[in-house]
């Protein structure tokens, strides 16, 4: 018998949208304890002992996949990685068929990344195990938002009443959506900064303030969250050039000086140095928490999988 989560009631982690603030807090609290574990020499726990975790990535990823893999292994799960873009999709198999095939192997945790919004929801309806969304299209990337939240909470001592700027390619970013929802639920003031081609005005309906002047937008913020400029989408002509983008929306020392003196700088990676962020700022250990974000990523994923597994086991016992 494993102890049931106090607040966390989900069977899947498909997005931030369905989560209650107390569920978010419970994940972060548990993740805090896993940060301590991860800093020890002996890093093993057995929360996922005997469980099988399959990572299905329909889109290239190095960091997220590695982070999920390490998180699973530290908790004792049997982890398997499947690079889906190289396999059955090319043979014409549908997403549902792939899911059913995997389902027949009785995994307990399925970590999925897919290039289309809603694909992970669709998959979750068809399988019996717990599904974690590792990013679907431009919809959500919940573990990224959770790790960002944990990073902010540890750096700032709280996760509410902060002025947080999210800068860059908001339109194509699932990271921005999940962060916007999470930070909104935790009652922060959010500013979205970027050229109007990359920050659709509809985002203001989520209670965010929109700035197309970065200098104005960065005034007195506590957190500066930079997003990667998705170069692979540049053929759409969203911005005139990388150098103009860097001039107007790249984070450099001069622009950062407008934020609060203790403002932290975040980036989900991988970074384009000299496009959206100046290299020296990214490396400034007094301002940049980019390395901490990676560390928190493993802890948050351990916590999320632990809680999902507890619900999974308790459901099994209830039957």
């Amino acid at each position: 018998m494993t102890s049931a989560p106090t607040y966390f009631r989900q069977n899947h982690l498909l997005g931030i949208e369905p989560l209650h603030p107390l569920e978010i807090t419970e994940i972060l609290d548990l993740a805090d304890s896993y940060v301590d574990l991860n800093r020890r020499a002996e890093k093993h726990a057995d929360a996922l002992q005997g469980l099988t975790q399959i990572n299905m990535f329909f889109e290239n990823s190095t960091r997220t996949q590695a982070s999920f893999e390490i998180a699973g292994k530290r908790l004792g799960a049997d982890v398997m990685n499947m690079a889906m873009q190289a396999s059955s999709i090319k043979k014409g198999e549908t997403l549902i068929d792939t899911a059913m095939t995997l389902n027949a192997m009785h995994p307990d945790l399925l970590v999925v990344r897919h290039p289309h919004s809603g694909a992970v929801d669709l998959l979750a309806q068809k399988v019996n195990c717990a599904v974690l969304n590792a990013g679907d299209g431009r919809h959500e990337h919940p573990t990224q938002a959770l790790l960002d939240a944990l990073t902010i909470r540890r750096a700032k001592g709280r996760l509410h009443r902060l002025n947080i700027a999210i800068c860059g390619d908001i339109a194509h970013s699932r990271v921005a959506r999940s962060n916007l929802i999470l930070l909104g639920k935790m009652e922060n003031r959010i500013r979205l900064i970027g050229p109007p081609t990359l920050v659709p005005s509809q985002f203001s309906e989520f209670g965010a303030e929109i700035y197309d002047d970065m200098r104005e937008g960065l005034q007195d913020v506590d957190v500066v969250m930079m997003l990667r400029l998705q170069k692979e989408r540049m053929d759409g002509g969203f911005i005139p050039s990388e150098r103009e983008y860097y001039h107007r929306y790249g984070l450099d020392a001069e622009k950062l000086a407008l934020a609060k003196p203790d403002a932290i700088v975040m980036h989900p990676g991988p970074m384009n140095r000299g496009v959206e962020i100046d290299g020296t700022i990214a490396d400034d250990i007094n301002r940049s928490v980019i390395q901490e974000q990676v560390e928190m990523g493993v802890a948050v994923r351990m916590a999320a999988m632990d809680l999902l597994a507890r619900n999974l086991r308790n459901r099994g016992e209830a039957k």
Binding site: H114, H116, G118, L122, E140, R177
Partner: protein, 426 residues
């Protein structure tokens, strides 16, 4: 053969009335509309309507029957049965089959298939350009001779304005009706939703409702140049309505339709990526929906159609962006339209004006009326009986309806085509 419909509440869309009455039908044609207390002639077969509504059968412009090419999705037989069960007495078929209906030979094939298998009237449309590719116009004259009632490339927009101008000019000389899909094709490329808060929340590629107005504006400009006879297949946004109004005021030969789904659903119905709610153009905001309902009430929008588009399960069981667009609606058209009646948005004569009378008038058909000399294409229905829709009971070969599990009110009791019963509810 003589039929006498008695004890009916007769909906007359032409006069805008609903009144108790009786109907005498001789040899498939309405002989006379009589007062409620008229006695049945001796030789007539009497049909007691039990006080239910009797209306002119629906004339549905833009039904996709998947012959040739994808008969597993819908055949003339299954579509015909679905139409009969839905009170649709005339289906106007779309040419967006595989291959497209763009030659007289292709048109003859579908006409033959329809006559053999469908219990309702089937009138085919032909493509406007060969292969619906937007490059060369079809043989409009020959196709008209073969029975094409209108010309349309369906959801393919003819983006080359030179080609479209010539096709419109040529069509005018033949007196042919051109039906177009008003949409700016580049702006709407790849879109699966309408721009707005919902699309942002779901992370779906979206198109502004402005793309519809731009498409309509362009077509109206070409109508001014060519004087062609034109019908917009689906007007679904508030933004497009003033342009349509101006074009009508200026005396252009223009009419417009809308789909039952855009009248009764909005973008939020997509909820958690429910692909049965993916239609083209995508569902709009509630403000747009209400504006379009208003436009039907005022007569600015002339017709309501099912935009019946069968898709098999495989085409829909995909991530939302990849899933095929379209919904079946022949059988749900009337109960869905009655939602507008039950919510006091539209009265019954207005509904049947848009469902039956106006489409028939636009196509030059004698049907769509309850009047002396009109064909006895009739639907008898109970407007109030409640039911929960079970998609697996639909007669279409494909069951991709957004109304699965929906509570609806109103059922067809019987359908007659030229005085023959083609459907009777058990």
């Amino acid at each position: 053969m003589t039929l006498f419909f008695t004890n009916a509440r007769v909906i007359n869309p032409e006069a805008g009335t609903v009144s108790p009455g009786a109907l005498l039908v001789k040899n498939g044609v309405i002989d006379s509309v009589l007062p409620a207390d008229a006695p049945a002639p001796k030789e007539a077969e009497v049909i007691d309507c039990l006080g239910k509504y009797l209306a002119p059968g629906i004339v549905d412009i833009g039904v996709k029957v998947c012959e040739p090419g994808e008969r597993h999705k819908e055949s003339y037989k299954s579509a015909g049965l679905a139409a009969a069960a839905g009170g649709v007495t005339t289906i106007i078929t779309r040419p967006d089959t595989t291959p497209a209906i763009d030659t007289p030979e292709g048109l003859e094939f579908v006409t033959r298939r329809a006559q053999a298998d469908a219990p309702v009237n089937v009138l085919p449309m032909a493509a406007l350009t060969k292969g619906r590719a937007g490059r060369e116009m079809v043989e409009i004259g020959f196709l008209q001779d073969a029975g094409a009632v209108a010309f349309t490339d369906c959801d393919h927009v003819v983006s080359d304005t030179k080609v479209l101008t010539r096709a419109l000019t040529y069509a005018r000389s033949c007196g042919a009706l051109v039906i177009a899909h008003p949409q700016e094709p580049i702006l709407s490329k790849g879109a699966a939703a309408t721009s707005g808060k919902f699309a942002v929340l779901r992370g779906l590629p979206a198109v502004s409702s402005m793309a519809e107005r731009m498409g309509l504006d362009r077509d109206i400009a070409l109508l001014e140049m060519t004087g062609a006879k034109y019908h917009a297949d689906q007007i679904t946004t508030a933004r497009a309505l003033p342009a349509l109004q101006r074009a009508k005021n200026n005396g252009l030969d223009i009419t417009a339709g809308t789909s039952i789904h855009h009248l009764t659903l909005n973008e939020l119905d997509v909820a958690d990526y429910r692909t049965f709610f993916k239609v083209k153009p995508p569902l709009r905001s509630e403000e747009d929906r209400l504006a379009v309902v208003d436009a039907v009430r005022s007569g600015l929008i002339d017709t309501i159609s099912s935009m019946h588009t069968p898709q098999d399960e495989e085409s829909k069981r995909l991530p939302f962006e990849e899933a095929a667009a379209g919904a079946v609606a022949l059988e749900t058209l009337l109960p869905a339209a009655l939602r507008l009646y039950h919510s006091d948005l539209l009265d019954l004569p207005t509904l049947f004006k848009a469902l039956s009378y106006n489409p028939a008038q636009r196509l030059g058909l004698a049907s769509g009326r309850v009047a002396e000399g009109a064909p006895a294409d009739l639907v008898l229905f109970d407007a109030d009986v409640p039911f929960v829709l079970d998609r697996f009971k639909l007669r279409s070969k494909s069951q991709n309806t957004p109304f699965d599990g929906a509570r609806m009110q109103g059922k067809v009791l019987a359908t007659f085509v030229a005085g023959h019963s083609v459907y009777a509810r058990d």
